[in-house]
């Protein structure tokens, strides 16, 4: 049945045929997913070191087994309210491509639901209206028996602000600009 997979490259884009393996995790009541190829590790959240003047989407650094990794605030990136850590919270260490370099970063999930195999044909486009998340961050949605799972586009959702429109100097908070 898997004759559709003609080439050996496992493209993470959900447009091709075949199946893909996803890590499904939760933020609030929302189920989100990343391609497992992009997930480097799942850890208990370590203490984070805040970086004064850092962009709000990456406010801190964490130690991931001896490497220093930026902690990305996925909730802020997706426009969600901040959360409190619980016993279920997990640190998801992700590897993305930023330009020609590999970028390792970490994000916190409220809980990790698990790894699922999904049919690429089951991925549907998310309407721009009706979704509260920034449209470029979402590659599509997958209907599962437990509910809708939003597929994150790792390169877009975890893009460093300096590679987008960030002007150096505006990151440093002036009096009263800190959220």
């Amino acid at each position: 049945m898997s004759a559709a997979r003609a080439t050996g490259d496992a493209a993470p884009t959900p447009s091709a045929f075949g199946t893909m393996t996803l890590l499904v995790f939760r933020l609030d009541a929302r189920s989100l997913a990343l391609p497992v190829e992009r997930v480097h590790a799942l850890l208990d959240p370590p203490p984070a070191t805040a970086v004064p003047g850092a962009p709000a989407i990456a406010p801190a650094l964490v130690n991931v087994r001896g490497t220093i990794v930026p902690l990305v605030d996925l909730r802020r990136r997706l426009g969600l309210a901040p959360a409190v850590r619980s016993a279920e919270s997990r640190l998801v260490v992700v590897e993305t491509a930023a330009g020609d370099e590999t970028l390792r970063l970490a994000m916190e999930a409220d809980a990790v639901e698990g790894v699922v195999e999904a049919d690429r044909a089951g991925v549907v486009a998310v309407p721009e209206i009706g979704s509260r998340c920034p449209p470029e961050a979402i590659a599509g949605a997958l209907a599962r028996p437990s509910g809708l799972v939003l597929l994150l586009d790792p390169e877009s959702v975890f893009a460093p602000p300096s590679t987008v429109a960030g002007t150096p100097g505006t990151f440093f908070p002036r009096e009263g600009t800190r959220p």
Binding site: A58, L61, N63, T67
Partner: protein, 123 residues
């Protein structure tokens, strides 16, 4: 880093742009917590310290909550997320596993000098 001295309450009363006298020489003092927009953990005089650093020909006193010690470490560069954040040259991992930021003294001095004309006095 040249030396660490106790921060006396009187010096802090004048707010930003203060100086301390150090063996007959005046050294400009910058409150790091204020520069970074943080709330200091300790009140002035309560064990806060001034770390005197040298940036080129200039000397500068950095007011800190406490001095944890000195150590030899491996400096790791910051990722694309934090490369443009002013005041830091890198980060390192402490003995207890936590991440510590490494200050870029020259950039801090420039940052402090840039702030001075604004006369930003936090209420």
């Amino acid at each position: 880093v040249e030396e660490c001295v106790e921060h006396v309450a009187d010096d802090a009363a004048a707010g930003e742009g203060t100086m301390i006298e150090l063996r007959g020489r005046l050294v400009g003092v910058v409150d790091l917590a204020r520069l970074f927009g943080l709330a200091p953990e300790a009140a002035p005089g309560e064990g806060r310290r001034v770390v005197v650093v040298r940036a080129g020909a200039r000397r500068l006193g950095l007011v800190v909550d406490d001095v944890l010690g000195q150590r030899q470490t491996v400096v790791k560069t910051l990722s694309a997320f934090h490369r443009d954040v002013p005041g830091f040259s890198g980060a390192t991992i402490l003995g207890d596993g936590r991440v510590a930021l490494i200050l870029d003294v020259a950039a801090l001095a420039a940052l402090a000098a840039e702030r001075r004309p604004h006369g930003a006095h936090a209420a």
